[in-house]
Amino acid sequence: MEYNNNQQEQQVISLPRIGDPAPAFEAETTHGTLQLEDFKGSWVILFSHPADFTPVCTTEFIAFQEIADDLRKLNTELLGLSVDSVHSHIAWVRNVKEKMGVELTFPIIADLNKDVAKKYGMIMPGESTTETSRAVFVIDDKQIVRAVIYYPLSTGRNMPEILRLVKALQTTDEHGLATPANWQPGEMAIVPPPKTQEEADERAASDEFECKDWYFCKKHI
């Protein structure tokens, strides 16, 4: 099959979908050379930012650091990325510590050749061809992409939502339940709808769940 240049470019910038294996990579980071495989067994928040030494990114990195301990308790590691050199990252990390009093403890990928950014579709050419957008890939302990969030260059991300998302995904895995809008840990979760008439009748008659109707049941976890 032949591709012209435009098709090839389209191919490399497409993002991995939810449920896909996370694309493997080896990258230079502020913590040395890391492979995605090094994180096997842990969940990973792989996130990109446009550039070091920019104000919105600085607020985001401080905010990511603030949830790092909570994420660690969820067996989840942070891994940042931008199209900057490792020396730029190191200088920025030192600057954030000196000026803002916050020590950034997670690794940051120096993706100067955009290898990882292209594999994960982190560059939005309509917005910028040189900077990565504010992408978040939630990768589970089996290295499957479980959720994807994209924000534009102008808008900083919401860390409580990222934390809530990881908790919701892990709750789904542990209990086989879904989570409703605005769900928070400790609240009731959604029982998947029945797939047969018999199951629907049994569900409606059961007092195990709190049901509005046969298809809409919740359960305490």
Binding site: G32, T33, Q35, D38, S42, E77
Partner: protein, 75 residues
Amino acid sequence: MACVNGDGTLTQSAKSVLSSLDNKPMSAEQLSQLISVPLFKVRSSLRDMKSMGLVKMTNDEHYEVTEGGRKLLSR
């Protein structure tokens, strides 16, 4: 997690890894728990050290220090 400083000596983190393995060969997971360093960092460090010949992997996927690793550790 670089292993060696510019002057050829081991970094503090590399010393910690090597001296722990010098007592007893262990897996990356065991080592991560022992020295309280995230598993991804330990795996990365062990890969670097293996490529430099400082550690080698045993048949049961444990890591042990090589003679070269011991020499560098004693510097």
